[in-house]
Symmetry: C2
Subunit: 301 residues, 2 copies
């Protein structure tokens, strides 16, 4: 990491910008739905998350020449709305049946299963509308706006996150091969992480090679992120993680179960190098992206 880049200050400043944007997003969504659905959305979205996807989106936007301002965080918040939906549905009884998420009771434990089902699904079109609105406020061309919202929707649905979550569930109790595991992780974490970078680049009007580099960066750190999650699940307690180490308990295939701790660690580092190589080759000089790539594998939860 560049010695002149203070990652912790950067992360906390960026997270504050994202939290404010999420507050604005939840406020307009609440005004459109019944109070009980709004409360569930508030619980699911305004939690103590890392906000990695929105932070990456803003970093990509800036690295491609986008200017500072609230609207960039508003755009980025749309990614967290999708991430929150996926967590709310993942935690439901018919999926992981999780009690704890980010150190708090899961949404359905507080607001009920029916309301959480509805609230999660409502976040998908809300995220599309949020991204549209923000792209307009950023002064994006109509073409860039379309590009941004399509990228979000593609990563949210068929072929993206949902496909990967499905493979994840199927992985319980039977070891996946390395190829399937790679596919799972590319889809599950990769699709939305890569979308974060691409959305930021598209909103800033980045050139195709630069945009491609940010996509490759996103895919690589998405994989590094998932490998690191597997490592943390294998080595941490629920208290540190703020959630139940469910992947481990359910005997799913993980990078650690498949390759062992040392090799998994090596592979995560390899992906970070690939991510930095991609942006470096495209001439993107962004200390934030470099620091974020390292943070993905060095984080403790």
């Amino acid at each position: 990491m560049s010695e002149d880049f203070d990652l912790q200050t950067f992360l906390s400043e960026e997270a504050a910008g994202v939290e404010a944007a999420l507050g604005r997003a939840v406020a307009w969504i609440e005004a459109e739905v019944e109070p009980e659905i709004g409360a569930a959305i508030r619980h699911g979205v305004l939690s103590d998350g890392k906000r990695l996807r929105p932070i990456l989106c803003v970093a990509s936007y800036r690295a491609c020449g986008g200017e500072e301002g609230e609207a960039a965080y508003d755009l980025a918040a749309s990614l967290e709305l999708i991430h929150a939906y996926s967590l709310m549905h993942d935690d439901l009884p018919c999926m992981d049946d999780a009690e704890l998420r980010r150190g708090r009771p899961t949404t359905h434990r507080v607001h009920g299963e029916d309301v959480t089902l509805r609230a999660g699904a409502a976040l998908i079109p809300a995220a599309a509308l949020q991204a549209w609105q923000a792209a307009g406020a950023l002064g994006c061309t109509r073409e860039a706006t379309t590009d941004v919202v399509r990228t979000l929707m593609s990563a949210s649905g068929a072929g993206g996150m949902v496909g990967g979550q499905w493979i994840d569930l199927e992985g319980e109790g039977n070891a996946l091969g390395a190829e399937e595991l790679g596919d799972l992780h590319r889809r599950k974490t990769g699709a939305l992480l890569a979308a974060s970078l691409v959305m930021g680049a598209a909103a800033a009007g980045a050139s195709p090679p630069r945009r491609q580099a940010l996509y490759e960066y996103g895919r690589a750190i998405g994989l590094a992120f998932q490998i690191t999650d597997d490592i943390l699940d294998a080595t941490s307690s629920a208290e540190t993680l703020g959630k139940n180490p469910s992947d481990n308990e359910l005997d799913k295939s993980t990078y650690v179960s498949l390759y062992g701790l040392d090799e998994a660690t090596r592979r995560a580092a390899e992906q970070v190098d690939a991510a930095l190589g991609a942006v470096g080759e495209a001439g993107v000089d962004a200390p934030a992206l470099e620091a974020l790539a390292r943070y993905v594998v060095e984080r403790k939860h």
Copy 2:
């Protein structure tokens, strides 16, 4: 109804166009997801539905000068993807816990609860992408394309369908007042039905007054549709309906429970008149829209 308009032939020809489009839609979605999710989507989407929303969309598109062709049905199919998602989720155990839908076992009874949850949610972004693709194929301007997809997403989420479904569930066991009931119905059925008309008009590049007329037509027949559903639920058997008359069983507020059969019937007819008045005043001459408005209240299931 115009004597020279053969509604049954019209409906069956239009439904065939919609079915073909839904077949194309399900095929691309299946190619993007795991086989089990694809199978659940196929089950939920390719059922024996009335396809009223897509048929209305195509009728609106034509009434506003849009030309014949496959792509209009592809656009219209996006509405049925959203409708199918809402039925798949509505039928889940934590919601209505329904066994039967359109005379067949519900999706989760065949494909499981977890898969149906995922498959339903995957249909939301898939519908957005479907509408985008079709609007492109129709040669819509970028502005009209944005308009079309935004209309679909707005009707699918916060403030639209999901809000209404929530009120619906809350209505169980405690009688709603007339105002709440009107709000419920305007939202639940009205949002997506009105969107069907508006999407067709927007794709055809309709003038603002004409578009407004089609919106009003959509809201009015949406309400007429829901009142008629209440009447059918109160007077039909499960065999005729192809589903369990669940609203009745669960003692929900309905137009029939609130106003009685005669007054409910009168109110439905009043809405049909309002719908026809709106399009008539705007100079939209469309026998199909007239016939469809009457069909909404005269149908037997």
